[in-house]
């Protein structure tokens, strides 16, 4: 995997690091096309998810040149940029108009750092966000519809607000039949429960901090408490055993018929569209995040942008940029989307072809207009850790009240932000 920097003969191969999952395979296929066109081979090295970041971080620590490009999580930007691991792409992105080809939200979250400065370090590659899958057979069953209307006073349909979603979840929770209302993220390992909760939090009009990076009365505001209580309620309608669940478990409980609705990244919905995997494939529907009490609608962002290693030779950097430029072309993006990659290209996203290609693409395209991400400052990891801990303790562990959990979290966030010099004491 050690690319041979060869100034004279030019660069003949490029190495891209990504996590080990299907989209990486699609990228490899796109890369193969690039080789056909240019003769420069592209290798997508896939690292298991669990260790992906460790691996990249170790490479950073060593200022290594094992990769030319990396498809990295949005939250890595802070570290990648501040410590100089990523090549500055501002010039590259803006001078040729590449920046305009992708949706603003994706450009902002996948590419820009620090927020609002117009400095870009990545090209949005795999757009992703949370959405919902649901069981149409349940939702459209006349008996169920009648019963629901009876109980809740409005018609059973795809929920438009979180309250409705809660009601539906409650309605379908029938342990005796082995059916539960909903599946939500709860995993404590990395960022799962935070991601899941964010969907509610943002929609309740709360952010992780205000403009001054003040957290008090923001993350532990009343609205935040209401959001957290709702999230915990949702968890109580989840099947047993989802106490440490992330995308895989979400799909699992959907596949085995335990859940009426699940939240998940769009990137994992293709599995549900496969009859061999999902017995309910034909009755599976998808919808975008519901709205909060004030009509706010946000979806937690996943997905990644592709960045260039700052430690490789200039020739290689140039070759990498050439590849990205090629990759950003609309035809290539269309192909990328056709393969299953989630493009961020505005035009492709808006095309009829794309919207009809899969049952979930429409929801995806809708979602991509209201995505929102959490911190991408270098301290994101530090912030994430207490967030995960407090959320998990409260939601799964049932410890204390929502207010206490959020207070504790706010307190720790504040400390971290102070230490980082991001907030005055």
């Amino acid at each position: 995997a050690q690319p041979v920097a060869d100034a004279q003969d030019g660069v003949t191969e490029l190495t891209i690091w990504w996590a080990e999952w299907d989209p990486a395979n699609y990228l490899q296929q796109v890369g193969n096309n690039y080789e056909e066109e240019t003769g420069i081979s592209v290798t997508v090295v896939q690292e298991p998810w669990g260790s992906y970041f460790d691996r990249v971080a170790a490479e950073w620590a060593a200022r290594g040149d094992s990769y030319d490009m990396v498809v990295g999580d949005s939250q890595w930007l802070g570290q990648g940029v501040e410590e100089g691991h990523y090549l500055d792409l501002t010039e590259f992105m803006t001078s040729e108009g590449l920046a305009e080809t992708v949706t603003p939200a994706t450009l902002q979250y996948y590419g820009e750092y620090p927020a609002g400065t117009g400095q870009y370090y990545a090209y949005p590659t795999e757009g992703d966000a949370n959405g919902w899958a649901y069981r149409k057979d349940l939702f459209e069953n006349p008996d169920e519809m009648a019963a629901f209307e009876e109980a809740y006073g409005y018609a059973l349909a795809v929920p438009e607000t979180w309250e409705q979603l809660r009601d539906i979840a409650e309605f379908f929770t029938r342990p005796d039949d082995g059916l539960y209302g909903v599946g939500v993220y709860t995993q404590i390992d990395y960022d799962a429960i935070t991601m899941g909760f964010e969907n509610v939090l943002f929609s309740y009009g709360v952010d992780w901090a205000d403009e001054n990076n003040n957290v008090f009365d923001v993350v532990n505001s009343e609205a935040a408490v209401a959001a957290l209580e709702l999230y915990k309620e949702l968890y109580s309608f989840a099947p047993p055993g989802t106490d440490n669940a992330f995308f895989a478990e979400m799909n699992d409980i959907f596949i085995n018929g335990q859940a009426a609705m699940i939240m998940n990244y769009f990137a994992f919905f293709p599995a549900l569209d496969n009859p061999e995997i999902n017995p309910y494939r034909d009755v599976t529907g998808y919808f975008a995040m519901p709205a909060g009490p004030d009509g706010d609608r946000f979806a937690a962002l996943g997905g990644q942008g592709i960045s260039v290693n700052a430690y490789i030779s200039e020739e290689r950097q140039q070759a990498a940029l050439d590849f990205i430029r090629w990759f950003g072309q609309e035809e290539v993006q269309a192909e990328w989307a056709a393969l299953g990659g989630y493009t961020c290209n505005i035009n492709v996203l808006g095309s009829e072809e794309f919207l009809n290609q899969t049952p979930y693409n429409a929801a995806f395209a809708e979602t991509m207009t209201f995505v929102k991400d959490f911190w991408n400052i270098p301290q994101f990891g530090q912030l994430l850790e207490p967030t995960q801990r407090y959320l998990h303790s409260y939601v799964v562990g049932g410890e204390g009240t929502a207010q206490e959990a959020l207070d504790g979290m706010a307190f720790e966030h504040d400390e971290i932000l102070i230490e980082a010099g991001l907030v005055e004491e």
Partner: protein, 299 residues
């Protein structure tokens, strides 16, 4: 060519000193080479504020990291959890492993095969073990609750939520009792028969024989087993992460360490300090064992 003429020995003899050198030097050299840099480097880092992925040079902060850790309640909790976990799982492993060894001590037909089969849990990759046991513990899709006779999902225990630490202990015991068993078995089979013969003549009950002969005789190997299991328990990480993801109540020191050191934080300085605190604790505990070992070895 001479017949077996018995001449004085003229072979080149290595003196015992040379033999010692020859035997020990490779080991020591390798260990020193492989460990000296990581040890010293991380010791140095433990006195600094540093993040491995940052371009800023380590900043010397003296004992600050240590002070922070020792004054952080959560760390004490981590230690307490680790201690409890180590205590439960190591002592259970001892009991189960040694018990199985006692059962297998006397050979019977097929005992060899059974012994090999019992060793299988130990051979499964620890990471996979975590993942799989999570599946097994899962109240919905797992096999454990049905096997224990729970029919109703609502009443069946959610192991990993209700008894997270014990669940880890269960898996650890399942996985590593065979290790203890094999060592104990080797120790048991090295006990010469004549000791039992003498004891039978002396009318010692089997209980008495066990306490006075079996146990003292296998003690050295048992202590080595405990020693290594304890060290591993303090380092245990894969299993905890795999099973509970280190949820509160199961956040052992090494999980904490992992979080500090890698998971998005890269607090290399303070994680090194934490590692050294762990090291000191392990050293202290190991010393107790080794002292015990030397006491039984005096025989």
């Amino acid at each position: 060519m001479s017949q077996t003429t018995m001449q004085g020995p003229t072979r080149r003899h290595l003196s015992d000193r040379r033999v010692i050198q020859l035997f020990i030097v490779p080991t020591m050299l390798l260990l020193i080479l492989m460990n000296i840099f990581p040890l010293i480097y991380s010791l140095y880092l433990s006195f600094t504020e540093y993040s491995i992925i940052s371009t800023t040079a380590p900043e010397w902060v003296g004992l600050q990291n240590y002070r922070d850790i020792l004054s952080d309640e959560r760390f004490w909790e981590n230690f307490a959890i680790t201690g409890r976990y180590a205590l439960y799982s190591v002592s259970l492993q001892m009991i189960v492993g040694f018990g199985m060894a006692m059962l297998l001590k006397e050979k019977f037909r097929g005992s060899g095969l059974l012994t090999t089969l019992i060793l299988v849990p130990m051979m499964v990759s620890p990471v996979v073990v975590g993942v799989f046991w999570r599946n097994i513990f899962n109240p919905s899709i797992g096999i454990l609750n049905p096997l224990l006779g729970y029919q109703n999902l609502e009443t069946s225990p959610e192991w990993l939520v209700e008894y997270p630490l014990y669940s880890i202990v269960i898996v650890d015991v399942w996985m590593w009792s065979p290790f203890v068993m094999l060592l104990a078995l080797a120790g048991l089979s090295a006990i010469p028969d004549y000791l039992y013969e003498a004891a039978a003549i002396d009318r010692a009950s089997s209980w008495f024989q066990f306490w006075r002969i079996t146990l003292p005789q296998v003690m050295p190997l048992l202590i080595i087993a405990v020693l290594f299991r304890t060290i591993e328990a303090f380092k245990q990480f894969d299993l905890v992460m795999g099973l509970t993801g280190g949820r509160p109540g199961t956040e052992t020191v090494s999980v904490r360490l992992y979080r500090e050191a890698l998971q998005g934080q890269f607090e290399t300085g303070s994680s090194s300090a934490l590692a050294y605190i762990v090291l000191v604790i392990i050293i202290a505990i190991s010393n107790l064992y080794i002292r015990a070992l030397n006491r039984v070895r005096e025989a």
